[in-house]
Assembly symmetry: C2
Homo-oligomer: 278 residues x 2
Amino acid sequence: MVYRLLALDIDGTLLNSSNRLNRQTKEAIQYAQKKGVAVTLVTERHFHSAAKVARALRLTQPIITHSGAFVSSSIDDPVYTSKIDHSVLMQLAEFLEAYPCQIQMSHERLSISNRPHQKNLIAKMTIGMNEPLFYPVTYVDSLSQYLLENYEGATDVKIKLDDQKTMNDLEKAINDYFPSLNAWRTGSDSMTLVRQGTSKFNGLLFFAGQLGIPLNEIVAVGDDLADAEMIEKCGLGVAMRNAVDEVKAKADWVTRSNNMDGVAYMVKEVFRKQIRVH
Amino acid sequence: MVYRLLALDIDGTLLNSSNRLNRQTKEAIQYAQKKGVAVTLVTERHFHSAAKVARALRLTQPIITHSGAFVSSSIDDPVYTSKIDHSVLMQLAEFLEAYPCQIQMSHERLSISNRPHQKNLIAKMTIGMNEPLFYPVTYVDSLSQYLLENYEGATDVKIKLDDQKTMNDLEKAINDYFPSLNAWRTGSDSMTLVRQGTSKFNGLLFFAGQLGIPLNEIVAVGDDLADAEMIEKCGLGVAMRNAVDEVKAKADWVTRSNNMDGVAYMVKEVFRKQIRVH
């Protein structure tokens, strides 16, 4: 089998646990690209943050960001988006404002959050605050008021609420009243919502369609539950040694950990004998 | 919202319960195409059988056949395939031949089946026998022997076994030993297997990638459980009045039944006000 597309998760996969990109990893990606293999990233990160990694790796392809909701090589001209519609966001904001929760609505340029009800939640919620120039988090008094004046969709919505019982009720209500959304718990006090059909695998499959590369010619590498679907369904699914067990169980192959240059090792093993593709 | 791709299931959706394509339906599809909307079929049918319907509708796009395993506008030059690999088929044949089951391995040109163990199974298993010229079903003594001499993948494998207890064991064993396959029961005595990643929705999404049309600009119409995913995840998901309840629950809209020209009614309602797209 000849593989023509290499799809890589960033955190826990390409980067080591100090968030560094090793020289070996960079060289391995160059090696794969020289063999004619297209290389892309598939990540939960927002576009600006993922694009930095893509630049460091000198990738030439669009990347799959925001958990599959935004596929692009530039902030202005996406090849694919799968966002929550503005009309659904409006209804969601009005619905959520009845609960004492922290809400963060994001798209590729910025995040909007309601002012925190509880002081100790601020630090936890300001995801991306370490790079304010690239990805501003703006606080507003009323999200529904903001949305009235700003016609925007969202790649995702994050909710935080420090009361597990209410959170359970909220999750059930969202599943009942917002069938166009896919909601999952990221902890006992937190939840993420995306549009139905938004996933890392679906973003990758759409992009593969653009390249005309079928599933069995794709290598997918990752470590987290969000990577399980692409690892299971692509031609060669590779789990990192540091991956969660569910992901390893779905993989065709387990490579070394992210702290042991697992991606570089895998690339060498898989592509060494493969002739150049076009 | 402007919709640019219309994806239609065939059986129970486009065709009425006498397997006829009504004039109203044909005219409605022409109407959508004249508005610049791309139209495709998404079906469990094999390619030749689906291509007949496509010709009757004068479709110009590739169609998604074999439950998403074969996307093409001709038998020879698919834009996408997602087949069970020959090496997996070999292992599967050897494994299954220990059981007293009827096995049918298919791809876009033909089906291969082992000689039936029980006489009364013949009629049930000869799917496609009504069009032998287009889609031959060949019986062989040993599938594993046949596969040794024929290097082919399969779009799907169907299994029939008239003993529910053994069938349950078999299903469990396949899930354990063949992680690259996706197996589901189609009845107490029957099971279908495809490659992980093969589904009507995934075939459609890959094709949408080729056209550069994102999910929220797709209308998907169907009636069966296999249509539920595309109805849930596409921009506008439409269930037929005759659809199963699970499908209706995931739909944005329920149109008239297939015997009441539900597709034609839906097309007029959705595309009447839409200006021509490019």
